[in-house]
Amino acid sequence: MTASAHDSCAHCGHHHELRVERLTVRYHEVEALSDVSFSTSCGACVALIGPNGAGKSTLLKAVAGLQPIAGGGVLWRGTRVARWSHEIAYLPQRENVDWQFPITVRGVVRMGRFPQAGWWRPFSRHDDEAIDRAIAMMNLQALQDRQISQLSGGQQQRVFIARALAQEAHVLLLDEPFTGLDRNSKSALAETLRVIAEEGRLIIASHHDLDTVRDIYDEVLLLRRKTVAFGRVEEVFTPEKIERTFAEERGAA
């Protein structure tokens, strides 16, 4: 365990719990999520699996506090997540990011210190140390002054994770982190996620490559607007349940 883990749950006596209870999200009149419930805790690596439009991104945004909730709620460490918490980090899909934005790797990671530094206060030595640690953990020291478009896909994903670490997040919500990465970057990212989960952080990622789920994650939520199944990968990620998640809706009521 590295010293940088002091801010995560690893050194606490117990594991923090994230509970999603009967979560319902509506876009206009259409239900994007209905009655979704599951609960997991720090140290786990959770895959969100489901067909397009199943509500994976919506669920991640709802947990991050970005999505108005029509019913139910999200409880983190026993308290309701009302709007935002620096303990919960959201990592958007890479294709939704403006990579031409004139900002360096370090600049992106530094944004993670906003909850601590606030609107005006100059970044303190403590902030700089947290930024340095996050950059070192993600192995980005040599790249920290690069503009972000001059990075590979895997490096870009690591920049986002570094920002979440600088933010001292306990929960990382990743939207399709493996999409568009080459083979080597994929296995490197899987290793990274394992390491930060073992430190005691909670990883929740939407994922669509069914072949790699068993290698990367230890829990899985099969989602199709409703919870199809949730549990340990070896128990829940079965051909029968996957089939049920992805089956065409044939005249379903």
């Binding site: 991050a64 506090g65 959201y90 939704n96 934005f101 004139p102 906003f114 909850p115 609107w119 920002r163």
Partner: protein, 294 residues
């Protein structure tokens, strides 16, 4: 030669115009970084047309005073901006289409009204600017607008940049992105109005985009974009005002034309992202002249 170059500064109205150009150019140049990063040049440009009926109405109601044109145009921009939002929310039309309808209608109304007011000779000033006609009081108005706008923008620099880079992530870090977006738009409109006397509402958007867009092609540093934009905007505008005097051309179009020229140079000759640099670079990496790739 030097005498000839400095001759315009012998006249008080020229000194005032150069000072105003520096002030307006700097403010617009700084703010232009936000317009470029927000990718909202067309929206701001539409709103600049919407200012005209506000000016006409203000003149109609209270006459032409120091602040009446400013307040009238602010009011018009607010009505058109919020109106387009209301139309897009209340119908299946998107906001840009709604904005296009509203601002052209408003612009037409403004032209018709201005012609009827007996200030028709000033119409061209509102459309294309008349920086030589500035009075000392106008200079002070501009000074205060610049002071407040730059103050707000620099004070909120950190959360504003986070909002522009990724508003979802900014929101999860506790930045009030919606409020900041409205505030930024409001400040941009105020800055836009401050440039009316220099370049008029037809050309205002040029001054509120070109400076930082030029610097954007030269650097990856955010700070350089803001302060470089201010520098490019201020210096180019001031020199263009002088050039207008030397060459006997209208100052408003001279400013925007010269900004276009500076942008074109950055586009062609920029050391990193310029067209020439990229062509020689791709030739180096492929080992072939760029035309011979068939």
């Amino acid at each position: 030669m030097i005498d000839w170059l400095l001759e315009p500064l012998d006249h008080a109205f020229n000194r005032r115009a150069v000072l105003a150009a520096l002030l307006i150019g700097c403010t617009n140049g700084y703010a232009s970084a936000f317009v470029v990063l927000r990718k909202s040049a067309l929206k701001v440009g539409s709103l600049s047309h919407a200012l005209l009926p506000g000016i006409a109405l203000a003149i109609l109601v209270v006459g032409l005073h120091d602040w009446s044109a400013f307040l009238g145009s602010l009011f018009a921009a607010l009505i058109i901006g919020l109106g387009s939002l209301a139309v897009s929310r209340g119908s299946r039309l998107d906001q840009e289409s709604a904005l296009a309808i509203l601002y052209t209608a408003a612009f037409s109304g403004g032209i018709i009204l201005l012609r009827r007011l007996g200030v028709a000779q000033e119409m061209e000033d509102w459309l294309f600017g008349n920086i030589m006609g500035l009075r000392n009081s106008d200079l002070w108005t501009n000074f205060w607008i610049s002071f407040v706008a730059l103050g707000v923008l620099t004070a909120l620099h950190r959360p504003l940049l986070m909002t522009l880079f990724d508003s979802d992530v900014a929101a999860t870090l506790g930045v009030p992105v919606r409020a900041l977006n409205y505030l930024l738009m409001a400040v941009l409109i105020v800055v836009l109005i401050s440039s009316l006397q220099a370049v008029g509402c037809m050309l205002a958007i040029g001054l509120l985009v070109a400076p930082a867009a030029t610097v954007y092609l030269l650097t990856d540093s955010t700070h350089a974009m803001f302060w470089g934009g201010a520098l490019v905007g201020g210096l180019t505008s001031a020199i263009a005002v002088l050039a207008g005097w030397w060459l006997n051309i209208e100052q408003g179009p001279a400013i925007v034309l010269m900004l276009g020229g500076v942008f074109a140079m950055a586009f062609l000759l920029g050391p990193k992202y310029g067209l020439l640099a990229r062509m020689t670079q791709s030739r180096k990496t492929t080992g072939k002249p760029p035309v011979a790739s068939a």
